[in-house]
């Protein structure tokens, strides 16, 4: 349960949500879908630390996905714990990688893009145009972005699906029988310290805890 500190370099908004850039040592960067807990080092501590997800990597540091608290300002030092949980595992043989965030920001899926391109996979991102336009940096030219209406067609094409649907997975995705994973959005108050059960997820193998066994689960395991 190692705690470390890092400086929040920059904060910007994407479609109304606060995104940040963290000066983060390479060995502390969470892989796609894994998470950190963070709180400002100075000032009164929050009741619970904030759950943070990677939203990309820039030369200056780690992009933190949307949802940073209003009290955080550029330049503050954060106390951090993690990474913890189980993230996305891109199959090395996947050639058609579909990233699906049809209802909200695709940020938490973006760390998969360089991995997929490095293994010469084709990448398609399903995302609402408003969220796409709000991204601070353009997608790599090799990534095709399509609107949510094109999801059924994209599923026929994909041989691996990574989904992020905080409001719940659409039937189209839960019924998909290909190789895929989904990032499940649930509160994790104990941050993997207590098996508190708040983040319990019902799977075909029984109840699992998102903070320990997830928050990324195989689509076929989700009940």
């Amino acid at each position: 349960m190692h705690t470390w500190t890092a400086r929040l370099i920059e904060i910007w908004e994407e479609n109304g949500a606060r995104v940040g850039l963290l000066e983060c040592p390479a060995d502390h960067r969470p892989s796609a879908g894994r998470c950190l807990l963070g709180a400002a080092r100075e000032g009164p501590p929050p009741v619970l630390p904030h759950l943070l997800f990677p939203g990309g990597l820039l030369p200056e540091g780690l992009v933190l996905a949307p949802g940073l608290p209003l009290s955080w300002q550029p330049g503050i030092e954060l106390a951090l714990r993690g990474p913890f949980g189980s993230g996305f595992h891109l199959p090395p043989k996947a050639r058609h990688v579909l990233l699906a965030a049809p209802q909200h920001s695709p940020r938490r899926l973006l760390p998969l893009i360089p991995l997929a391109l490095a293994q010469r996979s084709e990448v398609t991102l399903v995302c609402h145009p408003d969220f796409l336009a709000a991204l601070s940096h353009p997608l790599p030219p090799l990534v095709e972005a399509i609107p949510p209406e094109a999801l059924p067609e994209a599923l026929d094409w994909a041989d691996y699906l990574a989904a992020d649907c905080p409001a719940g997975l659409p039937h189209l995705l839960t019924e998909w029988r290909g190789s895929g994973q989904a990032l499940i959005s649930v509160p994790m108050p104990c941050g993997n310290l207590a098996d508190c059960g708040a983040c319990a997820v019902n799977t075909r193998g029984g109840w699992k805890l998102a903070c320990k066994d997830g928050p990324v689960f195989d689509l076929r395991d989700l009940a």
């Binding site: 349960m1 807990l37 929050p46 009741v47 108050p189 310290l193 098996d195 708040a198």
Partner: protein, 275 residues
């Protein structure tokens, strides 16, 4: 042989805050006088279907359903680890009746490094039913009875003279709007401190040995709990923060806490009390 409650530190974790055994690498674990397990029932308990976490100013409302795999599984998975912990273990039990409580506490007697049982009483339990449950749980290990917060001032005095060696407090329950409904759950966080101090003081004044809990986040809070009459203090959401208890141990007064030793069959020399 029946043992007394002994604590080398008045700091404890509240049940449900550190798992069935503590995670490796908690460098502050030694600050605790004992490690208290998550609530354990005789049989497996699934999480509540309407589990929820709702933050409010100064706290959180949390409803989980007290998910646990059942006593047998917990003992298989964790008893060996408990034996090697640097702090004593108190096992928190939830039982549906006195027979079940008896069956569960019997399985804990003789386990290495298990020093006490904490028995959680369900909300809205009557004094008679509470007494019956406490009698059922009576065993060689000291019994700490966790009282429903709202009934603590009534139940504590009613259970004096029972096998309860001390009383602790369950988090109060509350309602908050969330997810399109009024959600019910346990309340945790610093906003609860004034209410908790009030309940602790009323139990202490009634002559009940009490372990305080609710809203302790700093040395001043800790000292206030002890001044209100708490023999020890359980910590909850503070432990989920990034600093754990921080340097709370530095705020522990040299005296004015702990339980009186009453039994001749002590495992610890009296000279070690309150060190």
């Amino acid at each position: 042989m029946k043992h007394d409650l002994y604590l080398a530190s008045p700091l404890l974790n509240a049940a449900g805050t550190l798992g069935f055994s503590p995670r490796a690498g908690l460098d502050w674990l030694g600050q605790l006088g004992a490690f208290i397990t998550n609530p354990i029932s005789l049989h497996h308990r699934s999480p509540a279907h309407d589990r929820t976490l709702i933050p409010f100013e100064g706290g959180i409302l949390l409803h989980t359903g007290l998910i646990n795999p059942g006593l047998r599984y917990v003992l298989n998975q964790h008893a060996a680890r408990w034996a090697g912990l640097p702090v004593p273990v108190w096992v928190h039990l939830i039982a549906s009746g006195p027979e079940e409580a008896a069956a569960m506490t019997r399985q804990l007697e003789g386990l290495e490094n298990v020093h006490a049982v904490e028995l959680g009483l369900p909300p809205e339990i009557s004094p008679a039913a509470a007494l019956s449950l406490v009698k059922g749980a009576h065993c060689e290990l000291p019994l700490v009875v966790q009282l429903p917060f709202e009934q603590a001032a009534q139940l504590g005095p009613a259970l004096k003279g029972s096998p309860a060696a001390a009383f602790s407090l369950a988090p109060p329950r509350g309602l908050l709007p969330g997810q399109g409904r009024l959600a019910s759950g346990r309340l945790l966080g610093p906003a609860l401190l004034p209410q908790a101090l009030n309940v602790v003081q009323s139990l202490a004044k009634a002559g009940c040995p009490v372990i305080g809990s609710g809203g302790v986040t700093c040395g001043d809070d800790l000292r206030a709990m002890l001044e209100a009459g708490a023999a020890a203090v359980q910590l909850d959401t503070l432990l989920w923060g990034l600093k754990g208890p921080g340097n709370l141990a530095a705020s522990i007064p040299a005296e004015g806490w702990g339980f009186p030793l009453q039994d001749e069959d002590l495992d610890f020399p009296p000279a070690l009390e309150n060190q």
